[in-house]
């Protein structure tokens, strides 16, 4: 996972975060803008209603002052709307924001003006009623009743003259035309000599004339004041201020939106760019992996399936029979005619074993080792399988190989096995077979193998126990060297068992058996302990080997960690080389282990890469530092183009993932030269030094 993260990097995430962030802000501002726009419309709506109602109201007032009959509901209704709209504006949260301070001040002034206006209208309504009534009264009077005074020309003329004066003032809407009405009407007050009807008329007439004289100037003034009132100006002022402020508000938001949109687009382009880049990178890696996979799963020389492919496939076979072919004394052919001839022969065998008669049994053809070929047949019975083995043996032995016109004949041993583990058991038979010098085809049988194996196991287990008791399990050390300078970069500790006779045996002799016993843990513990002890006095790094399967063993892990805890200050110089095992089903525990030892400063290597499991997927998932390329590949890197190609691919791949690369089995300068051109930095092998009981004992070959 961390490898994957390393690959993708943090940039796309940063760009993504910037994108999401700016998009959210953009959305926020967009919504704010919508909000501003919505409120803007709403507020302007109120302005328009106020303005419209104000003008209608003025019209209604004029109308009401002119027409005798008018419906005042219009006036009260408009005034009501006006006040209502003003209230709505006053309560509008939008206008109460700081950005609209100027508008709010105008609004307050409008409110004050509105109050004055309302008062004026109230006064108008009250005055208007009386004024109109008086005028109406005088109108009806003139029409009908003035005739009562036809016999009194002086009074008659006086009444008509007053009516004329009043009506002129009314028509011109000017109180100055009233002159001194009160004085003019006074002489009419002498009611003596008048009829009762005449007296009543005069009383009412005088009442109304007095009323007009007293109130008309005020009324005219009131109407003039209403008509010239500056509410209009207040509305315009408010609207102007509001438009100014809203524009500023809107422009600010606009600018924000533009900036954010630019930011968002930039982030978007960056994300796309990085994704495209990551995609290309991925494709490149996948291609590389594909090449590598093919290189690993196929034998470069014969084109047959490789041993690692066999390991993968063997779980998928259906009741398989393995025919394991081993060329007898092939080493001699190689030594005698040269490896080029040997390779040519191996290639030909690769073709020879592909017999058409095997087709019905869904055959798979493998090159399992240097001179070992395997044919897996499925859906075949034991007898038939044996026959096929004989057939193969005959066809190879009957074939004439030519090396520079010299005839070469080969013999071959064939083991037939259907008992798991397929290869191991078949191998056993071959060894058994050869040991007895019985050439030919031999079919595996259970008893054949188990008895002997069991005895061997018991003997080995006894030997192990004794060795542990005698403290005869010891680390030997082999240097790992920096190719360029030849200086020792670290020592790999290799387990050795010292026999009671002083003979030293390597892990091949006992480790497989040990794994089945509790001694395995003890061996590991002894090794780790001793390696740490050996580390005192050196400042180079040391490496130990562990099987990946061991890491699922909790007791083993806790033992290891407690030793690391004890030697905390040396733990930072320890490399842990993990050996791939066939059944790696607990990758999580490996990951967890790596994480824990890294906390102590340990580094982690994958050992023997290039044979066996060699799965690149998990390699990417593990947080490892070092990749050790298997010796079988390194030993052939000079001279064998296919192997060279394979190693090159592995190195490229490993470098891509940032691993340090160590080559095993470095045995001559030619190999070093090739490895250096590929960019391999570290080497290990007999050229630099054989394993020795102590680091000092190592003979070191340094280049000057």
């Amino acid at each position: 996972m961390s490898a994957l993260l390393r690959q993708i990097g943090w940039k796309p995430f940063l760009a993504l975060a910037a994108g999401v962030g700016s998009f959210s802000l953009l959305l926020y501002f967009y919504l704010s803008q919508r909000h501003v726009e919505y409120n803007f419309r709403e507020v302007r709506g109120h302005f328009h209603t106020i303005d419209r109602n104000y003008h209608r109201l003025n019209y209604e007032i004029l109308r009401s002052s002119l027409f005798a009959y008018s419906n005042q509901d219009e006036i009260t209704g408009d005034l009501d709307t006006l006040k209502h709209e003003f209230e709505a504006l006053r309560k509008n949260a939008f206008l109460q924001r700081d950005a609209y301070r100027q508008s709010y001040r105008s609004l307050v002034r409008l409110g004050e003006a509105l109050n004055r206006y309302e008062t004026m209208i109230g006064d108008f309504m009250m005055l208007n009623a009386g004024i109109k009534n008086s005028f109406v009264y005088i109108t009806s009077l003139s029409a009908q009743k003035v005739k009562l005074f036809e016999d009194d020309p002086v009074t008659y003329a006086r009444i008509l003259s007053i009516i004329a004066e009043v009506s002129q003032a009314r028509i011109l809407f000017d109180a100055t035309f009233l002159g001194d009405l009160n004085e003019e009407v006074e002489p009419l007050g002498f009611l003596s000599g008048m009829s009762k009807e005449q007296a009543a008329l005069i009383r009412s007439f005088m009442l109304h004339v007095h009323y007009i004289a007293a109130n008309y100037p005020g009324f005219v003034q009131n109407v003039n004041r209403i008509e010239t009132f500056d509410l209009d100006r207040r509305i315009v002022e408010l609207e102007t201020n509001f438009l100014d402020e809203a524009k500023r508000d809107y422009e600010m938001l606009d600018r924000f939106v533009v900036i954010l949109a630019a930011l968002f687009l930039t982030a978007l382009i960056l994300v796309i760019g990085l994704l495209v880049h990551a995609g290309n990178e991925n494709r490149r890696l996948r291609k590389l992996e594909g090449e590598l996979r093919h290189a690993i799963s196929h034998d470069q020389l014969t084109g047959l399936l490789s041993r690692s492919r066999f390991e993968q496939l063997q779980t998928q076979f259906e009741s398989p029979y393995l025919l394991l072919l081993n060329l007898d004394r092939f080493k001699h052919v190689n030594d005698f005619y040269g490896s080029a001839a040997g390779n040519a022969i191996l290639k030909e065998i690769g073709l020879l074993i592909r017999q058409p008669v095997l087709e019905p049994y869904r055959p798979h053809y493998f090159r399992l080792g240097g001179d070992e070929f395997g044919v897996v047949l499925q859906g075949i019975d034991a007898e038939r399988a044996r026959q096929m083995a004989v057939m193969l043996k005959k066809s190879i032995e009957g074939y004439t190989f030519f090396v520079d016109d010299i005839e070469v004949y080969l013999t071959v041993s064939v083991a037939v096995n259907s008992v798991a583990p397929l290869l191991e058991n078949a191998d056993l038979i071959l060894k058994y077979d050869k040991a007895r010098h019985s050439e030919g085809v031999l079919v595996f049988s259970e008893e054949l193998h188990l008895k002997e194996q069991a005895a061997r196991n018991i003997a080995t287990a006894h030997e192990l126990k004794r060795a542990l008791d005698r403290d005869a399990i010891v680390p030997w050390f082999q240097p790992i060297v920096r190719l360029k300078s030849g200086e020792v970069a670290k020592y790999e500790a290799l387990v050795r068992m010292v026999g009671s006779d002083g003979a030293v045996s390597g892990p091949a002799a006992f480790l497989k058996t040990a794994m089945q016993t509790p001694y395995y843990r003890r061996i590991t513990a002894v090794m780790v302990q001793k390696v740490f002890e050996a580390m005192a006095g050196y400042d180079t790094r040391f490496a130990i080997n562990l099987g990946m399967r061991d890491l699922a063993d909790e007791k083993m892990v806790s033992m290891l960690l407690s030793v690391l805890e004890t030697y905390k200050e040396r733990a930072g110089r320890l490399d842990i080389e993990l050996l791939e095992s066939e059944e790696l089903d607990d990758l999580e525990s490996v990951k967890a282990f790596i994480k824990r030892v890294k906390a102590y400063g340990c580094r982690v290597a994958i050992d023997d890469f290039g044979v066996g499991y060699s799965n690149f997927a998990y390699l990417m998932e593990l947080d490892i530092d070092i990749l050790k390329i298997d010796g079988s590949l390194i030993s052939k890197v000079v001279g064998d183009e296919m192997t060279k190609h394979t190693v090159k691919t592995i190195v490229r791949f490993a470098k891509q993932l940032g691993f340090e690369i160590v080559a095993e089995f470095v045995e001559d300068e030619a190999t070093i030269a090739v490895l250096e051109t590929m960019g391999v930095e570290y080497g290990q092998g007999y050229y630099y030094g054989h394993p020795a009981p102590s680091p000092e004992g190592v003979t070191c070959n340094t280049r000057s």
Binding site: L66, Q72, M125, Y137
Partner: protein, 308 residues
């Protein structure tokens, strides 16, 4: 020559010619929420809303007396009397303000007034909800209408207001006349003509035939002022607002005796005479009064739908 002069004067007043009719008929149907109004109707007659449980809204706004109180002044809790005649609750939604001096801008504002007035119902909002919440029938009824558990004071007022909005009295003979559905008798016709000619129409106009302005009682001939009367002066404290009241509606006027804020007229005839003397400056002939009264009687509408 004299007639010629008179003719000029007459023609000069042609600017005072009448526009459209200044009175509007009531709509036959008004929009309101029937469920809320039904609840409001119940509350309107609910004595639980008064402190001593003797008085309801309906006590002073009798549906049989034109939505007003036939008594000169209403009697509230503990037998306390007010200082003003109860105005009609009918068509109140069309008044520009509520109460005689317009101190409430809306019906919602108005409805709380009498409930809290110590002389009228003398209640605290909390007591109102406490009492109604103690009555399962009310709790259920409110829950059915407002969908919440527990009666709130706002809901009580809302229901009463909704009911009041429904108290509209359509289809008076005069409304039907305005719509051209019927004719008025010659006397009623004459009355309407006088009503306009003498200037009553100046204040009594609009859909509610009044209720849309403040005017002074005693515009031409001063009217006796009672210091305790709740006039506009009591609110604005302006000299010019002494004896100023909201012009009352004339709808259903035949049913809402006694008249004026001080209940000083017991008959329509007396009210018309008093009004024309003090506020129009004319002493009407008996013939005119008779005609105007005949016209006023055409303003009686149908009982509101919600009460039927």
């Amino acid at each position: 020559m004299k007639y010629w002069f008179a003719a000029i004067v007459l023609s000069a007043f042609s600017t005072l010619a009448m526009g459209q009719e200044p009175i509007e008929p009531l709509p036959r149907h008004v929009a309101y929420d029937p469920a809320k109004a039904a609840l409001g109707k119940k509350l309107f007659s609910e004595t639980l809303l008064s402190s001593d449980k003797t008085v309801a809204c309906a006590t002073c706004h009798s549906f049989n007396y034109g939505g007003a109180d036939p008594r000169p002044v209403s009697i509230g809790v503990g037998g306390k009397t007010g200082n003003v005649q109860s105005p009609t609750v009918y068509n109140a939604r069309y008044n520009f303000k509520q109460f005689w001096n317009g101190r409430a801008e809306s019906l919602t504002e108005q409805a709380s007034g009498p409930i809290h007035n110590p002389v009228e119902m003398g209640m605290e909002s909390a007591t109102v909800t406490q009492r109604l919440n103690a009555d399962p029938a009310y709790v259920n009824a409110f829950a059915a209408v407002y969908g919440e558990k527990g009666v709130t004071y706002e809901q009580v007022i809302d229901a009463i207001v909704e009911f009041e909005k429904a108290l509209v009295t359509p289809d008076s003979p005069f409304d039907r006349f305005l719509r051209g559905e019927t004719t008025l008798s010659p006397l009623e016709q004459e009355g309407y003509q006088r009503f306009k000619a003498y200037g009553c129409i100046t204040c009594h106009n609009g859909i509610n035939i009044g209720g849309n302005s403040f005017q002074k009682m005693g515009l031409f001939v001063p009217y006796e002022h009672d210091e305790a009367a709740p006039d506009l002066h009591a609110i604005t404290n302006k000299r010019s607002h002494v004896n100023v009241y909201k012009v009352p509606t004339l709808r259903n006027i035949a049913l809402t005796a006694p008249y004026f804020h001080d209940a000083s007229s017991k008959t329509l005839t007396d009210a018309v005479q008093k009004m024309s003397y003090h506020n129009l400056g004319v002493e009407l002939s008996d013939k005119d009064v008779k005609a105007i009264v005949a016209f006023l009687k055409t303003l009686t509408g149908e009982r509101p739908e919600v009460l039927r």
